[in-house]
């Protein structure tokens, strides 16, 4: 009973906020709705008993990815009038993409319901093992190569991003911590006993 109420609440919030992501006029509001969607999806995961996945969803998507989204979107100088002009132009394309996605989802749902794809691969019974442990056991035994490959893909993406953005500008002043720490008193200044009436030139200091 309570579970049903919680499910419908979370499901409604996630669907409505997903709609608002697309329809909100201000892109920053869109991102905020997106965060709400992620959050209610995490709630649905908790209801399924997958609290580890729920926490990962919050940490990775809400805590990191959406922050970067928000970060970028906030800094855009968006012209709202211009944004709305494109709406009608791109509508047919968007409709086609939406229809394809919808058709695929229906196919998957029907297939799963008829006992095609999901049958056979029964879930690991979560009796005495916590779900962190269950995921870990599968991830590091059966799917270890795929898991490592996914890690490699991410590594390549990261290196790619760094290479694209790293520009070495030679004439910029940089702080070299090593040099700064190694600097000794004698490198910095010299005490010179100046004779009266003569003064000191730069040559004397060397």
């Amino acid at each position: 009973m309570i579970q049903a109420i919680a499910f419908y609440l979370l499901a409604t919030v996630s669907v409505v906020s997903a709609l608002l992501v697309v329809t909100a006029k201000n892109p920053v509001h869109s991102v905020l709705w997106l965060i709400t969607t992620f959050f209610s999806a995490a709630g649905l995961f908790v209801m399924l008993g997958a609290e580890f996945l729920a926490m990962l969803l919050v940490v990775v998507y809400v805590g990191a990815v959406a922050v970067l989204f928000l970060f970028v979107v906030m800094m855009l100088d968006v012209d709202f009038v211009q944004l709305r002009e494109g709406y009608a132009k791109y509508f047919p394309l968007a409709a086609i993409v939406g229809l394809i996605l919808l058709a695929e989802m229906i196919v998957v749902a029907v297939a799963a319901a008829q006992g095609g794809a999901a049958r056979g691969a029964e879930l690991i019974p979560a009796t005495d093992v916590s779900n962190v442990e269950a995921i870990g056991r599968v991830l590091y035994t059966e799917y270890v190569y795929i898991f490592q490959a996914a890690g490699l893909v991410l590594l390549v993406a990261m290196i790619g991003a760094i290479v694209l953005t790293l520009r070495y500008k030679p004439n910029i002043k940089r702080q070299d911590i090593g040099r700064q720490v190694n600097r000794r008193q004698s490198d910095a200044y010299a005490n010179v006993q100046a004779e009266s009436g003569k003064g000191v030139t730069l040559e004397d200091l060397k």
């Binding site: 965060i35 940490v59 805590g63 922050v67 970060f71 906030m74 800094m75």
Partner: protein, 359 residues
């Protein structure tokens, strides 16, 4: 008699009442202790600088925070004309709520916890990583330059330090073999060398070389994560006036401030739980075996609170005697020093658990 009472508390209604009561107790307890911790913060700061600090309202200035509270609440809420009104008011609320929901999984004494999640550490990490939203939303919605700059800085800063914070938490999880905070604390029971900061047990004593520095790195990252000096760049008053808080007044500002302090105390509690034994006093407590559970728990609660307040005092003192970091140095510390060190620490601790001594 006994049977009927226990059965009532295990029914849905009784259980809900119990949980609600627990939540209320924790929230009110934290709010009241925050009032005095805020005063302690100012007193310690003043003490380091050889001032007296607030000493007028009540004996020793003990009621200062309450006076401040009424002052904040009774002032007018000013919303700037160009502000995004809803987001502007949502931001402090979000900060406040997030700072308090994290306390749900903190075990104060054996069994004294609102929700004993088995992914408790991850939950704490998730909630603390959300704290950045309050600041970003506040900075953006103010529609003003300084708040915006402050929020941009803070977003980058908090995301950077979260990474090393997460990796350090992984080392603790590896030592304890669990993400449940109660289990993590139980793992540190007994003598002081069982604390994770000292490697977690005599058999693991070599890990002291890794874990003790990691506990300090955690402390410094916690400073950066909560925007405390010397990492208070989001609100650096000499460059950005007050950063994301510039446009905030009265109650919204108060919510930001309470949220910030609740986060700081939360970080202190996390350091205590993860590295310094939680409610374990650092020596075996056989003398409590015969005592009633409630009294024993009170003793453990006292130990836990003592350690938490100790770390809070450390954070308060850091504010007084460390100058503010420059922004590029802050980023260097996060990405080039803490991140590699904590990565190496994770690898070493994992290797020790597989090939090393007995756990």
């Amino acid at each position: 008699m006994e049977a009927t009472t226990t059965s009532f508390w295990s029914t849905p209604v009784g259980w809900t009442l119990m949980t609600a009561g627990g939540i209320l107790l924790v929230t009110v307890g934290i709010l009241i202790s925050l009032a005095f911790l805020l005063l302690a913060d100012r007193k310690i700061w003043a003490g380091v600088q050889m001032r007296k600090g607030p000493n007028v309202v009540g004996p020793f200035g003990l009621l200062q925070s309450f006076a401040d509270f009424f002052k904040f609440v009774l002032k007018e809420i000013v919303v700037p004309a160009g502000a995004d009104k809803i987001v502007f008011l949502l931001a402090p609320l979000l900060t406040f709520v997030l700072a308090f929901i994290a306390w749900a999984v903190i075990p104060f004494a054996p069994g004294w916890v609102v929700s004993d999640l088995n992914v408790g550490v991850l939950y704490l990490f998730a909630v603390s990583s959300l704290g950045v939203y309050g600041i970003i939303m506040g900075g953006w919605a103010s529609n003003s330059k300084y708040p915006f700059l402050g929020s941009l800085r803070s977003a980058a800063q908090m995301v950077s330090y979260e990474v090393s914070l997460g990796l350090i938490i992984v080392t603790v999880i590896l030592l304890a073999g669990s993400m449940n905070l109660t289990t993590i604390v139980d793992n540190q029971a007994g003598w002081i060398w069982n604390w994770h900061a000292f490697g977690g047990g005599l058999g693991n004593l070599p890990l002291l070389i890794i874990m003790f520095p990691m506990s300090i790195v955690f402390f410094v990252s916690a400073l950066a994560e909560t925007n405390r000096p010397p990492f208070d760049l989001p609100e650096a008053e000499s460059e950005l006036v007050a950063g994301y808080q510039v446009e905030y007044s009265s109650t919204p500002y108060l919510l930001f401030m309470i949220g910030e302090y609740a986060n700081i105390v939360l970080m202190c509690a996390m350091i205590t739980l993860l590295f310094f034994g939680g409610w374990n006093p650092g020596f075996p407590t056989p003398f409590l075996d015969g005592a009633p559970q409630f009294l024993a728990n009170l003793f453990y609660l006292g130990v836990f609170l003592f350690k938490t307040v100790f770390w809070f005092a450390m954070i308060a003192m850091v504010k007084a005697f460390v100058p503010r970091y420059r922004y590029d140095q802050l980023m260097r510390l996060g990405w080039k020093v803490f991140l590699p060190y904590s990565l190496v620490a994770v690898v070493l601790v994992a290797a020790w658990r597989v090939f090393g001594g007995a756990i």
